[in-house]
Symmetry: C2
Subunit: 508 residues, 2 copies
């Protein structure tokens, strides 16, 4: 009998794949304490400094309607400069919900955002990719489809993201339609929305309505979008345009100062945090002025800048300390907060990429961030989405997901009995405790190689980066597209066709 | 004028090198809080379970004199099995000093061990090396010399270690003489002592006496040595032999359960910690029975074991959680504690090596370990000392040293003035605050490449591992041997000659 015959042939294998649900971890419910680096006095000093920035220096909102909204709310407007009295600021910010549900088209993949819930998402926005051949080139829709499929399959990724790589073969003006359709079709996890214009934001909301119902989308968050502040202290028209659409449309917005500490903030961690905190608070309050109760996430993107080369740096002491501080502030304001996890300046998936990603991510886990972007695939300060790193990072996030659940005393008595049974000089493999608990006791990486040197040589002396690319190839063979009602699928196609007739193709 | 002439020629450069002190960081005085994962009840449960292990199961001390010491102290001895009543155990353990000074031959390199002091040391005990050609082979005395020189030069390494790699070209029976001489001559930092027999331990003490004075060595710790427990619950004759010599000789001992969690402990983090805590406490108490006030360090070496392959694993969720717990226990007992930092099962310096090292080390920093071994160069579960990783890890430890000092509010007002001065949409490079503070504001790695892709290509498209080897080569060119009184140098040579006449060469 042939090997093929024994296994039942191609159709049997396909049936098995289709029937088996993907392995999927829920949002991490953090059971370990948060780590805090500031005492109460330090926290208050930063908070107060942020309020003084907004009262005394002010912040620019470069959008007429936004200025009108601020004026109406009671802020002091001078040109584009908005001065926000602290009572007004805190009263508006206090309207933001501390926790909200992020709804997926498959309700099993919906998650909470906020409180003790932590979710992990892939990298976002890279123009370049390194795919199977590890060569750096511009990304395409096909590359994006690969990332969306792998995000769907990665157990510890709680959303599909959106523009994991820029699909540069699609016109900029129409790209958001194809990115959104790809995320909706290839994965049933929550996804992210476009922010490059109000119209594009509305298109994404309309497409989500086709899948989940217009009425549902009006009343429930089905996507998260990210608006960056032009630090220092400028919110621009594009970001404000998207924010207004999403806030009014019931969708969630990350309001994220983009920090190059030392360049667009002072060369000081605490003053940097005071500055970015002012920016985030101003936008959180603004969103509430647009739509009371708007679902917002206190955002941040942190890097420090080399005072020798001007290059952004991450995975270092100051990024760790600032993440701890920001977590404390977000909890003080009782809003969900977002950070950026497995990030690096390395051009490739090498030791630098792993050091920086790990040294950046571990503090974020312990700081208790709620919505963590860039936890898989980021390299080159975000310029390249790396396929190997996507797989490797995603597995490390499974490890951190396990860590966040903390130690368990549930089987403590049984384990102590095993110590008694084995006594000095024995081993524990055969004890009933081990037999009962080995599967969940310790995290076991599939992509790390902990075998002997000799076995590793027999297996081809592969470094971890090679194993990451191999793992991506293997995973894609097992990919099964999640079910989508054919009528919905057709409606998405029809929507894109209609919109493409209305939107001229533009590559810039 | 030639380039050589402009710079003053070889002798001028040599003078400059000789005159310039090496860059060196003191022991980290931790200013950030410790992270604790156990509440008071959990901590008490583990503590109590450890005491019950020693009372009810007992622990083997496989050495006649040690059993006699225990009997004399009041323990219940049955064969080699020692049952230790909790009052006896805690009263003995309470005699251990909470903090002691680790003296270097250069007093500027002496450090505290314990309290809020944290020191970092290189990898220890690898039979294999990967040096400049990145080929795996047995280590030699020449390789060891390279590691000792680089440890001397590494700013964040606070000791030279000892047997960074095994010098396999030196007979086992005489090897300790050459290892100790190399550490003494090539570096002026504290070093570690041999533990493979009581005689070898005594040789190291005698050699230290030649350098620092016999009387001084009798009364002050000048080396730390490491004794591993044969877990579960066995202290063997070799380790006890060395421990007795060092305890009586005033020298410091790390008493370290060697944990392969799931193999020599139960498949449970909390029960594993209860078991290793019993082992460590028994040895701490024993050392005090040998010599009240003996300088000891609560030790541990942590790995988990893959239930699929039996391979040891590190840098994972369970190692992190166990490090946090052990830190809490050591503080409860008020003794210094040791952990193992930048460790990995990877055979090479790749992404796995960096992920595992970083994910292992960051929790140890936050757990506040006092004496951290294996913070530079460890690969292959300790079997290979990797020269590139030595350089790269050592630099990451500088980063963590900076992180441990926490955020500074000293220049907060000045930085807030800069925010006022720049206002919205500016940049901070030109502010007086930046000019005054940029040098110490952010950690700047020399070995990470955060330049543009194009610049990185121009620089040879090197991965970080290549840069690590290059950095080792460059550093060695700048190495200057620390001054040692020629009479002492001769005395060391004479001592080795005398002992080699007494000790037959044996390679096994």
């Amino acid at each position: 009998m042939s090997a093929e015959g024994r296994r039942g042939g191609r159709s049997a294998r396909r049936a098995e794949r289709t029937s088996s649900a993907i392995r999927s971890l829920p949002a991490l419910r953090r059971k370990i304490p948060v780590y805090e680096v500031l005492n109460a006095e330090g926290l208050e000093m930063i908070h107060d400094a942020s309020l003084r920035i907004l009262e005394e220096i002010g912040i620019d909102f470069r959008d007429e309607e936004s200025l009108a909204i601020w004026r109406e709310a009671g802020a002091d407007i001078r040109g584009e400069r908005v001065h926000i009295p602290r009572d007004l600021l805190m009263s508006l910010a206090g309207k933001a919900p501390p926790v909200f549900t992020m709804n997926a088209r498959n309700p099993e993949r919906s998650t909470d955002v906020g409180g003790d819930s932590m979710t992990f998402g892939p990298t976002y926005g890279s123009p370049f990719v390194r795919m199977f051949d590890n060569e750096r080139r511009y990304g395409t829709l096909d590359d994006l489809a690969i990332f969306h499929k792998l995000a769907h399959m990665a157990p510890a990724l709680h959303n599909t993201g959106a523009v994991t790589c820029e699909p540069t073969d699609s016109p900029v003006s129409r790209r958001h339609l194809h990115i959104t359709a790809s995320a909706i079709r290839l994965s049933d996890k929550p996804f992210m929305g476009p922010v490059t214009s109000p119209e594009r934001a509305q298109d994404a909301i309309d497409m989500a309505g086709l899948v989940m119902g217009e009425e549902f989308v009006k009343n429930n968050a089905v996507m998260v979008s990210i608006m960056n502040c032009n630090s220092p202290l400028v919110w621009d028209e594009t970001m404000l345009g998207a924010l207004k659409v999403y806030a009014r449309g019931g969708q969630a917005s990350i309001l994220a100062p983009f920090t190059l500490a030392g360049a667009n903030t002072p060369a000081s961690t605490v003053a940097t945090v005071a500055s970015l905190n002012a920016e985030a608070l101003a936008a959180i309050a603004f969103a509430q002025a647009v739509q009371p109760g708007a679902r917002v996430i206190y955002g941040n993107f942190l890097s420090t800048v080399s005072m020798k080369s001007g290059a952004p740096m991450t995975g270092n002491s100051e990024c760790a300390l600032m993440n701890f501080m920001i977590g404390q502030l977000a909890r003080k304001y009782n809003v969900p907060w977002r950070s950026s996890g497995m990030i690096t300046g390395s051009k490739i998936m090498d030791a630098q990429a792993a050091y920086e990603s790990a040294f950046n991510m571990m503090p974020i886990l312990l700081a208790g961030a709620n919505y963590i972007m860039h936890t898989a695939g980021w390299t080159e300060a975000g310029l390249t989405a790396n396929l190997s790193k996507f797989m490797l990072d995603a597995e490390q996030m499974e490890m951190l997901h396990k860590m966040g659940q903390g130690p368990s005393f549930d089987d403590f008595d049984e384990a102590m009995d095993a110590i008694r049974e084995v006594g000095p000089a024995g081993h524990f493999f055969g004890t009933s405790h081990t037999q009962n608990h080995f599967q969940n006791a310790f995290f076991m990486s599939e992509l790390a190689d902990n075998n002997s040197f000799e076995q590793w040589e027999i297996d081809g002396s592969k470094d971890m980066t090679k194993r990451g690319f191999d793992a991506a190839e293997k995973a894609l063979k097992d990919y099964v597209q999640p079910t989508l009602d054919p009528a919905i699928d057709e409606a998405i196609t029809a929507f894109i066709t209609k919109r493409e007739e209305q939107i001229p193709a533009a590559f810039q």
